[in-house]
């Protein structure tokens, strides 16, 4: 009967109940792992996603160069995004109304537009402006497109950081005779960046993955980044392994990055 069950449960001590809940959680985990392990067709998985001969092919055919290109595409875009994003954040907090409007419009526009469309527009820009070309093609195009989309997100993050710095900091700086610009640059912004370090890392990681959209602008084989590189190798061999391998190479960037940022956070916390 259900009432006796409920009564028995009521008699459990809190510690016992906690233990029982924990037991259920472990049981679910084990069950899922066992089900996945037994139901999955491992032979098929191994052959389609992790074929050893294809892994070797991928590693020997320039995945390192593709990795380097991913880093170059992202690094340039992030620097651009950080600079523009900071300016936009300051514009959004400006006392000049048109600046606030402009920054808001920019942010809403580029945050809402799919990155792939921005890439497309920048790659075909000479259609609108004859003889105009973005330098360092296609790197310049990617830095600009990826950076502009990123800056919209980064601007909001930095704005939150600036607002997160206690007002007293500005007031103290001003009372020491610092002009507003200097107070912002020397006192508020450094503290703001410290606050937004974790969300900024997120933006960077998203950007690393968005760099996979580079294929849309048209690239030569020595300009391939990881995804395009993996896709092409996959298509020409009718096997997905190269794309999976290329995918794992993203972790090679993001995992060390996470470690570095965690160190920076700790150092920042200590210096406070």
């Amino acid at each position: 009967m259900s009432t006796t069950g409920a009564a028995a449960r009521r008699h459990l001590s809190p510690r016992k109940r906690a233990r029982r809940i924990r037991f259920v959680q472990y049981a679910v985990l084990v069950l899922v792992v066992v089900l996945a392990a037994t139901l999955a067709n491992w032979k098929q998985i191994g052959d389609v996603f992790f074929r050893p001969s294809m892994i070797r092919t991928t590693l020997s055919q320039g995945v390192g160069h593709a990795l380097l290109n991913t880093v170059i595409y992202t690094a340039g875009a992030f620097v651009f995004g950080l600079v523009v994003g900071t300016v936009l954040a300051l514009m959004r907090l400006s006392e000049v109304l048109p600046y606030r409007w402009l920054a808001t419009a920019y942010i809403e526009f580029f945050r809402g537009l799919p990155a792939i469309v921005v890439f497309l527009v920048f790659s075909l820009l000479p259609l609108a402006f004859t003889n105009f070309s973005i330098p360092f093609d296609p790197y310049g195009t990617v830095w600009l497109a990826l950076g502009m989309v990123g800056s919209a997100y980064i601007a909001e993050t930095i704005r939150a950081g600036i607002l997160g710095v206690p007002r007293g900091q500005t007031e103290a700086a001003r009372s020491l005779g610092m002009p507003p610009g200097l107070a912002m640059r020397k006192v508020v912004l450094p503290q703001a960046f410290r606050i937004v370090l974790p969300p900024l890392t997120n933006e960077l990681i998203l950007m690393i993955k968005d760099s996979s959209l580079v294929y849309i602008v048209g690239v030569a084989s020595n300009q391939y980044e990881l995804t395009k590189f993996g896709r092409e190798l996959s298509n020409s061999n009718a096997n997905v392994t190269p794309l999976v391998v290329a995918g794992f190479f993203y972790l090679l960037i993001t995992l060390p990055l996470t470690v570095v940022v965690r160190r920076m956070e700790r150092a920042a916390a200590r210096s406070r």
Partner: protein, 239 residues
């Protein structure tokens, strides 16, 4: 001769494949293939009707076995493999690879592209052709996933030339007069129409279609249709 539906010539295809068959802005199915089939439809005083099916139903012959249509069209490359399962017409189109450039450009062939950028589309015959000759002519291949971006990059001038199927390039150049097809590379691919295999009735219809195509080549009708869809006259390879 027997026809599946009285007064109608039913033609299976898979839409769209511009400019061979596609829906125009008023909703009609039009195109190069449609116009050629219309020649035989007119002779038999039938109304042509397009049946949109899975493409492999045409190439495997399943659509004909299921009596869905009398003929099949769709810019179909003639292969020995396909000829085993369907009856294929005489070649009606030489599907070569072609090179698109900006109008007035000095690039007349791949040999003029040394140190230049040649666009090609992923997983196409054109890309393979470009790769096979890259060493010989010393151009850089720029890889595009989308046809539309590849050809518009020529228009924008971000690449110097683009290689792709002649049909789609001619069609693009016709809509974008600042670009032009500079040269074709014969890869030996030919298009044919399809019908039911080992069927006396279908064979009779196919013979009639072959006659009409041959006749159109000699009386100028083929040239007119070609001009209409590709904005140019067929080269010698198409005669």
């Amino acid at each position: 001769m027997k026809i599946l539906k009285k007064g109608t010539l039913q033609v299976c295809t898979h839409l769209p494949y511009k400019p061979f068959q596609f829906r125009d802005s008023s909703g009609h199915i039009v195109g190069f293939d449609v116009d050629l089939i219309e020649l035989v439809a007119k002779r038999l005083k039938l109304k042509q009707e397009t049946v949109d099916v899975d493409w492999n139903q045409v190439t495997s012959g399943a659509a004909f076995k299921a009596s869905k249509c009398d003929l099949g069209m769709g810019g179909m490359t003639i292969t020995a493999e396909r000829a085993k399962s369907i009856l294929i017409s005489e070649p009606y189109f030489n599907a070569t690879q072609a090179m698109l450039v900006k109008k007035g450009s000095a690039y007349k062939s791949l040999a003029d592209l040394k140190g230049k950028k040649l666009g090609a589309q992923s997983d196409t015959t054109g890309l393979k052709y470009a790769q096979d000759h890259a060493k010989q002519y010393g151009y850089t291949i720029i890889n595009f996933d989308d046809f539309s971006i590849e050809v518009n990059a020529v228009k924008a001038g971000t690449i110097d030339a683009a290689i792709n199927d002649n049909g789609v390039l001619y069609s693009f150049a016709k809509d974008s007069p600042t670009t032009t097809v500079a040269v074709e590379f014969n890869t030996g691919e030919k298009y044919g129409f399809a019908a039911k295999r080992d069927d006396a009735n279908a064979t009779k219809l196919m013979n009639m279609l072959n006659q009409e195509i041959t006749k159109s080549r000699s009386d100028g009708e083929y040239k007119k249709i070609y001009q209409k869809w590709f904005g140019t006259v067929p080269g010698n390879v198409n005669k």
